[in-house]
């Protein structure tokens, strides 16, 4: 896949962050507006676009500051934010 980095189709990466414990959706603000989904085995999945690495570390820092246990961090596939020509 060819990556384009002009202003029309700036790509952001969607990340999935899994943490231990059930968080309610009110915490979304603390994690850059990511969507919180409760999962089996008492885990919560945070899903959402992360503009860059600095933003990702910001989210992870909040995980740390709240004393949450981090289980995994995965980048989902890249998706263009503006409509158009993803080949």
């Amino acid at each position: 896949m060819k990556k384009k980095l002009d202003s029309e189709t700036e790509e952001v990466t969607v990340y999935q962050i899994r943490i231990k414990g059930h968080l309610d959706s009110g915490w979304s603000d603390w994690f850059g507006g990511m969507t919180l989904t409760r999962e089996e085995k008492g885990q919560t999945l945070l899903t959402g676009p992360v503009v860059d690495q600095a933003a990702l570390y910001g989210v992870l820092k909040n995980v740390r500051n709240l004393g949450l246990t981090l289980i995994s961090v995965y980048p989902a596939e890249s998706v263009p934010t503006a409509d158009g020509d993803s080949e």
Partner: protein, 939 residues
């Protein structure tokens, strides 16, 4: 003395206070023992690294209280994520153990353009290693320090991040110091290396986590809960030994028991709670905080939520911020009487109830919430009543403002996004930062205020313009000043004292701006306006403007007036306690005296400046570096090269803490001149290249002196291409240049012309220089010009002219003892001086100079003297008048006996004179002596 008024906003001492420990803490002997072992020799660093709520601070504080060494404590917060501030507090912490330490470092850190962090650290480390008693430095909450490149503020002058500074500190850690870092995440340090080298002691989450036994003891002894063994085990499992979780669970259980029946702990209810809690997958903390809050009376809940925006709490501040709900009576659980709802009672209650309130001082005046708990509270506050948050910040701001605590007030106004109030507060309190030149703080605030708002407030424009000028943003500064001036139109109506004062300050900013473009006329015009309008009690600004006025005056060739300005400036600034500016003024004055050829007076002024530039312990302040460089120049003139080098060494040591680039250039200029004189061109080259490679431009005077230094050096080593390049890069219109600053550069130019044998052009240039220099009584460069002209005359075979010129030069040089100014020109001048001495012209002076020349020629001088032709004659010592008399008679063909009779001397005496004459002329018989004397024009 100065130290009082120079002191900026005091450090927050609560940050330097080891948090007091509670009496009923759980003893944790296994951890205390490990920490004790960390003080064994060779172990330099202790790392306590675990997530929030594992009792890091409590453990370290408790251990520190009984570790047997003095402990310096620093609780970091996010504002410390700035190397300068971090180091300021670090020194502050160390000073709680050793008060006399680090004053130099502190004063350097407080200057508007702090020196490189590495320099400050080096100085600090040297002082630390001299301590006899070992001590411990604790850095708590180190995780607030962000790795740079994140969103750390850009720092003028700081070359290192805090992390790098810490690594540097650890790599050079002086033996008396042991460092303890408590943090939520491992700091970016080479920990693996420290581990391998056995320097590191670690306490990690596995160690900190409560064991089942500790959990049981904690719940029973500390939290006063009677629980069944199964319940304890269930709680321990569910919280995984997480202390904050256990504590919250215990609090929730307490609440449950009191809801049911205050007297009896409800074992049944407890079991049910534990069951539901352990069975759920809730985020432990979220769940428990909710539980705990729910069980508190509403007043306590609102108190907790609304005061969570505060970094530090005290009763009066909480009273101001917190809005108690309704008139309902507050009855605190566990208290028989309903209590008045004041904050003090609540704070005490919270501390007693283990509700995550940490006392910050032994008197329990200040508290803070446990960080984790505060985060949870803020989260709830934001969710429950977002509209309240700015209001709470605004109330806190008002409280701080009333008490004159500017920094906190402004910070809260900004957090409240109430920019008009923030602007007003900066206007009210900004002057004290302005006065002590803390432009770092001022611009940090002003950058957060919308520009449109600043533009409507002339005082803010004034403050901001200085900060901008300091960082070289002249156009921006000019824009803000224009806005300030627009509010003052028409100028004729400036009559109210407040408006006059403001107008004066705008003028001062303009003068400052003019000084950055060598606009002497502009400086003087605006300085006059400043002094006319600024209120009499504004001593700092008056003092600074007096210094600038000196600059303006010399740029306008008004040297007598420049002298008076600098004198005045030294006095005003000393009175105002601005030691640094006072010393700057005296050094400028000393420089002027040197150039006026008043070397001894210059030395006196240097001494005066050195006496002034001492700290409270009598040690030289960093600004003394200026004085040492100025004094080295005098020592050089007197050819006391060793003393000059000592001065420069001292300057180098102090300079690391003195952030002036101009001084750095001056120092390099002076030292490379010294190295050339000492026959070490390689080192001179290094010094010059270092400045060239820095790609920075010093200001007017330093720039011109460095230019001269470069020309001199490249000419001496025969790199004529570079000399040409340097000459081509400059405008050499003499009339355009101020000669106090530029004389040395023009003389260097003339020297190049002499080297190229363009004697006529060189002579014309030197004539023109001398005319102006002599008009303004700048005798030192005038003397140098004359000596260069001696060289020209001699090289052109105009012996008589050369003789007259050197006679005049000797007369100018004699009273102040100039030596180097001759010696630097080499053998040609030496020979002329020798002849002058033989003719009996000022024998003391020529004798002294010739001795200096001889000493010079003994050393292996690698440097050629560009003005000189190769020496074809040995040096000669001057003949005494009697010897000259004898020589004349010898030349007339008289025998020794005849001479003795004629001069009424014993024959042996005449023979003695003859021996001396032969010696001095380096000949062996009478005929040779006469021939040599004719050659030298002695007869």
């Amino acid at each position: 003395m100065s130290s009082e008024t120079m002191k900026p906003e005091p450090l927050l001492t609560t940050k330097l206070c080891r948090p007091p420990t509670r009496p009923n803490l759980l003893a944790r002997p296994r951890l205390i023992e490990r920490l004790n072992a960390s003080l064994h020799p060779g172990r330099t660093l202790t790392l306590v690294s675990a997530p929030a709520g594992f009792g890091k601070t409590t453990l370290v504080s408790r251990w520190a209280a009984a570790c047997g060494r003095p402990v310096a404590w620093l609780s970091l917060d996010k504002d410390d994520n700035h190397p300068t501030r971090f180091l300021t507090y670090l020194v502050g912490a160390v000073q709680t153990v050793e008060p006399a330490l680090g004053e130099g470092a502190l004063s350097a850190l407080r200057s508007p353009q702090p020196p490189p962090i590495e320099s400050v650290l080096t100085v600090l480390l040297n002082e630390l290693s001299a301590l006899s008693e070992p001590f411990v430095l604790v850095l708590d909450d180190y995780h607030v320090i962000e790795t740079q490149g994140d969103d750390g503020p850009a720092t003028a002058g700081a070359s290192m991040s805090v992390d790098e500074a810490l690594t540097f500190l650890l790599d050079h850690l002086p033996p008396p110091m042991h460092l303890v870092i408590a943090t939520r995440e491992d700091p970016p340090l080479p920990l693996a290396r420290y581990r391998v080298q056995g320097q590191l002691t670690e306490v990690r989450v596995a160690d900190l986590r409560f064991t089942p036994a500790e959990a049981a003891e904690f719940l029973k002894q500390v939290m006063d809960l009677e629980l069944s063994e199964e319940d304890v085990a269930a709680l321990e499992t569910r919280t995984e030994g997480w202390i904050a979780g256990l504590q919250l669970a215990a609090l929730a259980l307490h609440g449950l028991s009191q809801q049911r029946s205050p007297s009896l702990p409800g074992i049944e209810g407890a079991s049910r709670f534990i069951e539901s809690f352990t069975g759920s997958h809730h985020f432990v903390l979220d769940y428990l905080v909710e539980e705990v809050l729910k069980q508190q009376p509403e007043r306590v809940q609102t108190f907790l939520l609304e005061t969570s925006i505060l970094n530090r709490l005290c009763a009066s501040l909480c009273d101001a911020v917190w809005e108690p709900p309704g008139e309902r009576e507050l009855s605190l659980p566990g208290r028989a009487e309903p209590s008045p709802p004041n904050s003090q009672t609540l704070l005490e209650y919270l501390e007693r109830s283990n509700l995550f309130l940490v006392p910050l001082d032994p008197e329990r005046q200040y508290y803070r919430y446990h960080h984790l708990f505060a985060d949870m509270l803020r989260h709830r506050l934001q969710r429950r009543s977002p509209e309240l948050v700015p209001r709470l910040h605004a109330r806190a701001a008002a409280w701080f403002e009333e008490r004159g605590r500017a920094a906190d007030a402004i910070g809260h106004w900004i957090a409240a996004e109430d920019y008009p109030h923030a602007a007003e507060a900066i206007e009210t309190f900004g002057y004290r930062y302005f006065e002590k030149a803390d432009f770092q703080q001022l611009s940090q605030w002003l950058e957060q205020i919308p520009a449109a708002l600043i533009q409507t407030r002339p005082w803010l424009c004034v403050f901001y313009s200085w900060a901008l000028i300091f960082t070289g943003q002249y156009a921006e500064a000019d824009r803000y000043l224009t806005h300030a001036e627009e509010t003052l139109v028409p100028a004729s109506e400036i009559d109210a004292p407040e408006r006059r004062d403001l107008y004066g300050h705008v003028a001062a900013s303009r003068a400052f701006l003019a000084s950055r473009s060598q606009d002497g006329e502009g400086i003087l015009r605006y300085a006059d306006l400043t002094l006319k309008y600024v209120s009499d009690d504004r001593r700092a600004i008056r003092g600074y403007i007096a210094l600038l006025r000196g600059t303006g005056r010399y740029q306008e060739d008004q040297y007598t007036r420049a002298e008076a300005s600098w004198r005045e400036s030294a006095r005003l600034n000393e009175e105002a306690g601005n030691t640094m500016v006072a010393v700057n003024s005296l050094v400028a004055l000393a420089e002027l005296h040197r150039v006026q050829s008043k070397l001894h007076q210059s030395l006196k002024v240097c001494q005066e400046a050195a006496d002034l530039a001492l700290d409270a312990w009598g040690k030289p302040l960093p600004v003394s570096a200026e004085v040492y460089v100025a004094r080295a120049r005098l020592r050089y003139e007197w050819n006391d090269l060793e003393a000059a080098e000592t001065d420069l060494d001292q300057a180098a040591e102090l300079m690391t803490l003195y952030p002036s680039f101009d001084l750095k250039v001056d120092y390099h200029t002076e030292l490379s001149r010294l190295r050339l004189a000492q026959g070490n061109p390689a080192h001179a080259a290094d010094l010059i290249h270092e400045i060239e490679a820095s790609n920075r431009q010093p200001f007017y005077r330093s720039a011109a002196a460095f230019l001269a230094c470069r020309i001199h050096y490249y000419l001496a080593v025969g790199d004529l291409a570079t000399v040409e390049e340097i000459l081509d890069s400059q405008d050499w219109t003499l009339e355009e240049r101020n000669l106090f600053a530029w004389a040395a550069a023009f003389l260097a130019y003339a020297r190049v012309l002499i080297h190229q044998e363009a004697f006529q052009r060189a002579n014309d240039l030197l004539d023109a220089c001398r005319e102006r220099l002599e008009t303004h009584e700048l005798w030192t460069p005038a003397l140098k010009a004359l000596i260069l002209q001696v060289c020209i005359s001699q090289r052109q075979g105009e012996t008589d002219t050369a003789r007259q010129q050197i006679q005049r030069a000797l007369m100018l040089a004699e009273p102040e003892g100039f030596v180097r100014i001759f010696v630097d020109e080499g053998p040609l001048i030496a020979r002329l001086l020798g002849e002058a001495g033989i003719r009996g012209m000022m024998p003391d002076t020529t004798g002294k100079l010739l001795t200096a020349f001889e000493a010079e020629s003994e050393g292996d001088q690698a440097i050629s003297h560009p003005t000189a032709i190769p020496a074809d004659q040995p040096l000669v010592e001057p003949l005494s008048p009697r010897e000259l008399e004898v020589l004349q008679l010898v030349a007339q063909g008289l025998s020794n006996r005849e001479i003795a009779e004629k001069l009424y001397l014993a024959l042996s005496t005449v023979k003695g004179h003859n021996r001396n004459i032969y010696d001095k002329l380096q000949v062996h018989r009478r005929t040779e002596a006469v021939a040599r004397a004719r050659e030298l024009d002695l007869l």
